[in-house]
Amino acid sequence: MDQIILQILNGLDKGSAYALIALGLTLIFGTLGVVNFAHGALFMLGAFCAITFSRILSLSKVVVDETQKDFLGNPLKVDVPYIYDWFGESAGQVLINWSVPLAILFAIPVMIIIGVVMERGLIKHFYKRPHADQILVTFGLAIVLQEIIKYYFGANQIPNPAPEAFIGSFDFGAAIGLKAGTIIYPYWRIVYFCFAMLLIGSVFAFLQFTTFGMVVRAGMADRETVELLGINIDKRFTIMFGVAAAVAGLAGVMYTPINPPNYHMGMDFLVISFVVVVVGGMGSLPGAVAAGLLLGILESFASMRQVIEALPGINQVVIYLAAIVILLTRPRGLMGRKGVMEE
């Protein structure tokens, strides 16, 4: 029982990352009709926004400490962050300690700008081209972005810990009346899941309850009619591209304490996120979220030792098996709309 609850928790957590990336992917597909293979790279760029922000907070002056020696026996050069001078040492330490949540404020404008520049500078030229061309150009863009990040940050992973208040684990078992110590779950992963749900809820609320969102939804349903009404739908769709980039970026920012990021992390998520979009139904936002969580849970169960022993290799193929079964029984995916990608 405890193992099942643990794997459901794991799956929800893993699935929330898939759902966030897939949500942005399907948003871009639903509005602009573009299959964006650079979306994983946006997730990665978000993570590196967090790294950059942490480095900005840690910008330091070098102070020579004559009492200590470096590896060559010379007096040790100690880095003292400028932030200590500006806010005092204790306040500076608190800011550095909370750099991951604070990086959200930094990442939102940066990611929106990156998204808008990407759309206006490159992707808009491919709207009328076949999907294969869109895939090639966005995949190429993803590789370019990866290489730029690798050039500046190196190939190895860079640790970016969560605030100390969230380091450690929560005894979930004791909280729900099971034996203490049987279901331990890290605080930050709980934070990540709650954050993902909040972000997904905000995107839905934005689309559902604002005039802007209403116009975007109308444009997704019937672009020509909306344009005939004199609304500049292109401009709104460009903004939605920026919003999708920001959603992927924020997913990346909050993911850095879970797995230290490197330049390749976007590619690791990209393929699974596409499977999530297809399983959820092309262009369906609730479908993307539901499929993300479902596939996350399935992947977690397939990683259990007992399951692997019974079905060797199942942990590597379960997501694709599930995709095959769902597409055979529901060809448009879980919540796919008629007419999308069917012309």
């Binding site: 643990l6 590896f71 690798k150 190895n156 640790p159 810990p161 797995n259 230290p260 030792r305």
Partner: protein
């Protein structure tokens, strides 16, 4: 003025001759006039440094390349000489190799066997490299070693830890200075039994590829021989990034030790997950729960940050070794000084093994008096040396594996900087990690001079 008359017959004859010429592999003809492939004829000799310059191990590759460049400088008599000052063999005198200035070409393995073979082939055929060295992966090392054997070129392996490189896939033209999985198990198990007791239950998470299998097998055999029990061993896909679903069940499995047979990004991520899930602070079977990482790389441990604190593993060499373990490890400080002054930070174990391999090759040529691969093989087989940072070392003739001390290290609780991540716990002497070369099978075959 004469006019050449082209007939169908002459065209066919010319075509047949040209075709036959092209069909002869250039590898067999390149520089083979002195009885061996790529014999240097001018005043210089070219070495081929085949390292990952892109892909996941690019940072290790960059450090390897720094070390190679430093070794070339020292061989050519530039800089302070580094380990040439401490190396027990005094054949090298800073005038290159056999009086020829050392030059080099580089290739990018991309940590992919196919790409590594292609870049090695290009360096051999186009650039006339007399020796190929490098690599930061066992898959790459085994593939390039086989290519060098066919081409009649010496291969001096870089960072490769699988038993297979000098085990079932060993070749007469290939040599490894780095240690292997078996030696890790033999060095680590006694320290683990000493610190954690002999009544322990281990849970292994193992990367699902060649190196993972040999490491799991080595650690299992060594720890079980000392009384540990293996509760479970789960293979994890090499492409896995989030290990939470593999780590979460460990605490309730009856195990009280988690062994992470992972390297690189896998290691960073699985260790991060294990610490995140509270395993470091947990109790199981009435004991403190422990985590073990059999093969440590300082460059990669950096990615795991504070999570490495207190965690045991092995490493081939560490820049602080001579200061902490004494003059037996002479050469360490000389190398760290050369490297540190040139680049501003201490070298990694990958840099160390690559630097040593270059000097060892040059020394073997010098002592043998020829660049002929068979002369190099003869000079290196059974060669005993010292002063290269690992203490007295033997290049064993039977499998071309260096037999030397292995370091057991632990992640520091409070590292002073990015380089100061590991502390030395114990040095297991070479005698304790020596193994019978026959246990892994494979045949060395005979050296191939390539002509």
């Amino acid at each position: 003025m004469t006019k050449t008359k082209l007939t169908r017959r002459s065209v066919m004859q010319t075509g047949a001759v040209a075709g036959a010429g092209l069909a002869v592999p250039t590898i067999l003809t390149a520089g083979s006039h002195s009885g061996f492939a790529n014999a240097p004829t001018g005043s210089s000799v070219t070495l081929g440094f085949n390292v990952p310059q892109s892909g996941p191990y690019a940072d290790e590759g960059a450090d390897e390349l720094r070390a190679y460049k430093l070794a070339v400088e020292h061989l050519n008599g530039e800089g302070d000489g580094g380990m040439l000052q401490t190396f027990s063999s005094k054949a090298l005198d800073g005038t290159g190799i056999l009086g020829k200035k050392v030059e080099y070409v580089t290739g990018d393995t991309q940590t992919k066997p196919d790409a590594a073979r292609a870049s090695a082939r290009s360096m051999i055929e186009k650039d006339g490299a007399i020796m190929i060295t490098g690599g930061s992966s066992s898959g790459v090392a085994v593939a390039v070693q086989a290519l060098c054997q066919e081409a009649g070129i010496i291969f001096m392996a870089g960072l490769t830890h699988s038993n297979d490189t000098t085990g079932k896939d060993k070749k007469a033209n290939g040599f490894r200075h780095f240690f292997n999985s078996y030696m890790t198990g033999a060095a680590l198990a006694p320290v683990l039994a000493d610190r954690y007791g002999s009544d322990r239950k281990a849970y292994h998470l193992t990367a699902d590829y060649n190196w993972g299998y040999t490491t799991e097998e080595a650690v299992r055999n060594s720890t079980e021989a000392l009384g540990w029990e293996t509760v479970a061993a789960v293979k994890t896909p090499l492409s896995q990034t989030d290990f939470s679903s593999y780590v979460a069940p460990v605490l309730n499995s009856g195990a009280d030790v988690l062994v992470l047979n992972h390297y690189g990004g896998n290691m960073v991520n699985s260790l991060t997950s294990a610490v995140e899930f509270g395993l470091r602070a947990a109790q199981a079977n009435g004991k403190n729960f422990e985590i073990v990482v059999p093969l440590y790389s300082r460059l990669m441990a950096k990615g795991a940050g504070k999570n490495v604190a207190g965690i045991f593993g092995t490493t081939g060499w560490h820049w602080s070794l001579e200061n902490t373990a004494g003059s037996r490890y002479a050469g360490t400080n000389a190398f760290v000084k050369s490297f540190g002054e040139k680049y501003g930070f201490p070298p990694s174990q990958a840099a160390h093994t690559c630097y040593c391999q270059t000097l060892l090759y040059a020394d073997a040529v010098q002592r043998g008096g020829s660049f002929n691969p068979c002369s190099v093989v003869e000079a290196l087989e059974g060669f005993e040396f010292d002063g290269m940072g690992n203490g007295p070392t033997l290049y064993r003739a039977e499998d071309h594996q260096c037999i030397k001390d292995v370091l057991v290290v632990r992640g520091k609780e409070n590292p002073a900087n990015d380089f100061d991540l590991l502390e030395l716990v114990d040095v297991t002497p070479a005698e304790a990690v020596t193994f019978d070369p026959a246990i892994f099978g494979g045949e060395l075959g005979s050296c191939n001079p390539g002509a």
